[in-house]
Structure formats: C-alpha cells, structure tokens
Subunit: 287 residues, 2 copies
C-alpha cells in the first residue's frame, strides 16, 4: 500500500493525539473519519474541519471504508476494542496506534487480528500538558520523534508505510525500534523523568516555596502536572522496564547522597563531570 | 545610607555574576570599580564599559573609595579574602555578597569585620549555564528572585539598602529570609534539583538515547551541565540542609517505586494527584 491521499484514514479515539493526527492529515488532503465515545467530540471535530465524518458508536461502515485505522486509545481500551470489534476490520487494512508502551500490547494485538489485517505499531513521542480533542495542535509534532515499533511478523511494506505516516504527520525524526528496546528507552527517557518530577513534588509540602522558585525547579517539575489515569496505566504496563530504570537511578542518587554525607568532594565532582559531558551530547541534537 | 548613584560600588570577583552586577549598575549611572584575579578580566571590563576602574591586585585605594562592596566570590574565597584584607575596609562601608549558601558564611564574616563595617548578605537567584565576565548579561535578573538574608546583627538601614540594590539591579522579586530558612529553601529548590539532574545523567550511559530525547528529558536535565568546582563547594557548604531534603525526596521516590513494584495503582494515582495540585500552584506565579 502506498500512502497517497487517496487513502481513507479512520481514527479510533479522538483525544488530544487523535485530534492532532486528524488535523495534520486533513491538512494534507486525506479523507479522515473518527470513532470516539463522546458525541460532543465528534460534533466539535466536524465543526472545526478535523474530520470528514464520524460516529460515537462502533460503526461497521466507517471501519470497512478505512484503508488505515489509527488507534489513539489507552492500552487496555485498545486491547478490549480489538477483542470486541476486531472482526469488523476488513482484510487488507493496515492498523497502527499511538500507545506509549509496546511489549505489553503489540504481540497480543497481532495475535488477535484475523489474517490479512496487519498491525504496525508506532509511538508518536509528542504531547501537551492538556488533553482532549479541543486542544489539538499538530505543531507538537514538529520537534518530536516518531518511533515505528515492528515485530518479526510485520511486513516491509507496512513498516515503510508507517514511517511515511510519521513523515506526513510532520515529525522531526522517524526511527525504528523493536518493542523491548522501545520500552527500555521510554522507561528511562520518559517514565523515569515523570517519576522524578512527581516524587519531587510529593517530597516537600511547603507552599511558601512558590515565591522563590527559579527556572531550574520549574523546568524540572513541568511534567509533575500529570494525567494520573493515563500515566499510572502506562507505568504499570511497562512495570519491569520501569523498575529496572528506577533502580539504576536510585543507585546513582544514593551515590551522590553518600558523597554529600561523607564530604567526598572528589567523587562528587567526578559525577558532575560525567553528567556535564553526557548532557552536552544531548545539547548537540537540540537545545 | 541612601542608594543614589552618587555611591561608589566596588565589586570583588568579576565572574559571571560580578559582571552582571557591574553591567546593571553602570547602566543606572553608578561609579563601579572592580578587583579580580585575572588582569584580562579587568581589561575586558574596562574596554566594554562594565567598570570605571579596576585592579587585579587587592588595591587599598579602591577599597577605601568604595561606599558599598559586593563580594562575588566562592564561599571559601570570600572568607579568606575578609580574613586577609578585611582591615582595609573603612568604617561606614556596607558590604554585601552573592553567595548561594548562607549559614556557613554570614555569621563568620559578620564576626570578622571591624566595628562600623556592616555585612548584609544577599542571594541573587540568577545564573547562566556559562561562566566568566565575558558572558555578563543583566537580563538574567529580569525574571529572577533576589533574597536579602539578614541576621539579628543587621541594621534596618542596611536591610533597606540591600533591598533597594535588588530593585536597582532589575530583579522581578525582592524577598527577605533568615540564613537558616534561606538554606532550607535553596537545598530544596536549587541544590536538590541539581542532585537529581546529575544522578539521572549518571544512571544510564546509553549514548543511543540521544536520538529519542524529548522535551521533558531535556528540561529536566538542562542543569545537569554543571560547574563541578562551584557546585560541589555549595553542596558541602550546605551539607546538613541538603541531606535533609535529599532524604525527604528519597522517601517519596521509594514510595513511588513501591507503588510500581506492588502494582498499587491507587496509591500511585494519589501521589500523581498531589503532584499535579502542587505544581499548579507553581504555575500561577510564572509559566
């Protein structure tokens, strides 16, 4: 399948990410439909030109008409949806997703689908601190990474199509990782950072501190404002990988704590130099 | 003493902060002199209009001519300087500083000074990721906090003068805290955040991760690029307060770790809700 804009794309789940996909795809001239729980969200999306048609019920016709289906649901909802409605997806359809954890869903979903329906998983690493289709803004893709996450079962064609989708959506970088590597990367770069920000906010309840807050604290805790329903599910869906990264981080923090406790300035400076050196690497690619 | 621009201000230590002070004060029409170790820095500051005169030696005349002396040195260098040269400061001079830790220096310095010389301590909570007088940029004060840190020995007049200095320098907010409260606040809001960023960078050495780094990781680790000489001294100078904040944070992080380990989603969500609520408070005051 070639991803030109004769293809019809169905988005299941019109939240923030689903809405951003719709917005970006409509701009490129694709025919976009949507299925989502709330009727209001469909109305909003229709009125604002995000979709061509949509339904707040599982609509067999919309599913049958789609060449590509994008699932923008929470992990467990995605699995339930496929269990209940997977049989409605016609042969030849490519399905993809936006889920932030992979090992725990990709193999299960692939095993549930009927022959001729291919699931190629993807993780658009973009988000906002607000949710819902009303906050859709496809400019969040501009500086972000899009990771295609194939398994051994995926075809070359579907992988290429999925990469192309990332480019069409306007992502800065498109990469490919297997589910295990993806989950390890996401545990460290995204989930651990959220754990840190949440812990820091829970560590001290002095409201007077607000007055003295500087940029470094603000930057570090920006992500402490967190959607607890979504993130608790993501953390637990990636439990093993996250625990491993949390343990590695705890060890490093304890090492620094011991330096302070034992007045070990040389060891402390050596950690700071490693940190500085590594952070410069990250600088090169962005800010 | 009233802080009009007939007052002559001497800056001891022309690094980044000393340079920013000079820049801001010259713009307001003050006569500014400087003493710093490197001759090159004096030459640069003279050629770029940051100071009116300066010396790379401890110059008795410059000290005697000053109404106000600002010490922009590392904590231990500040104490050594006063030990060696404090007798050169004439009666009636007000001295202040920019040091990021207080309890460990303020009382000692005040005890060392001769009668008639008053030390009113201050902490300009501003910085850049680069150092040196050549990076001076007084716009870093614009969004920042300036904390006046008096002890019981300070006079009302000197406290008011120091507050006025913060306003003249262009700080967004000027506040007053005693040394102990200041050190507790700085341990939590600044030093702990630097500990976290350094530990995170030391926890995982996978250079391939750079490719997938998003904004949340970049924001959280911006301060991981750290001046190890300065920060190791600041950490150890504020050791007790920092250890207490590190312990509180470790407890919160361990609590979240246990939630993940024990699949305790309810407790995890409750931490996330506390974190979200508290972070919103911080939002109100800025971004």
């Amino acid at each position: 399948m070639k991803l030109d804009n004769s293809k019809k794309i169905l988005i299941v789940g019109l939240g923030l990410l689903g809405g951003c996909y719709a917005l970006a795809l409509k701009k490129k001239g694709f025919y976009v439909s949507a299925i989502t729980k709330e009727k209001d969200d469909i109305t909003y999306a229709l009125e604002n030109g995000l979709i061509d048609c949509g339904s707040n019920e599982v609509d067999a016709k919309l599913i049958e008409n789609a060449d590509i289906i994008v699932f923008a649901l929470y992990p467990h909802t995605f699995i339930e949806w496929i269990k209940e409605n997977g049989h409605l997806i016609k042969e030849g359809t490519i399905i993809t997703d936006v889920t932030g954890v992979k090992s725990c869903i990709v193999y299960d979903i692939q095993a549930m689908l009927k022959p001729g329906v291919e699931f190629i998983s993807a993780h658009p690493m973009a988000g906002r601190e607000v949710s819902g289709v009303r906050n859709s803004d496809d400019s969040i893709f501009k500086e972000a990474n899009y990771i295609v996450v194939p398994t051994d079962k995926n075809t070359f064609g579907a992988i290429e199509l999925c990469k192309e989708l990332g480019q069409i959506l306007g992502f800065a970088r498109v990469a490919v990782l297997n589910p295990e590597k993806h989950d390890e990367m996401i545990a460290f770069l995204s989930q651990l950072t959220h754990c840190i920000a949440v812990s820091l906010m829970c560590a001290n309840d002095n409201p007077g501190l607000v007055l003295y807050t500087g940029d470094s604290f603000r930057d570090l805790t920006r992500i402490a404002k967190i959607n607890d329903e979504m993130w608790s599910e993501l953390f637990l869906s990636n439990r093993e990988a996250l625990l491993r990264e949390m343990e590695k981080y705890k060890k490093a923090f304890d090492r620094l704590y011991d330096c302070v406790k034992n007045n070990d300035r040389e060891e402390m400076r050596s950690m700071m130099r490693i940190s500085t050196e590594r952070r410069i690497e990250f600088n090169k690619k962005g800010q």
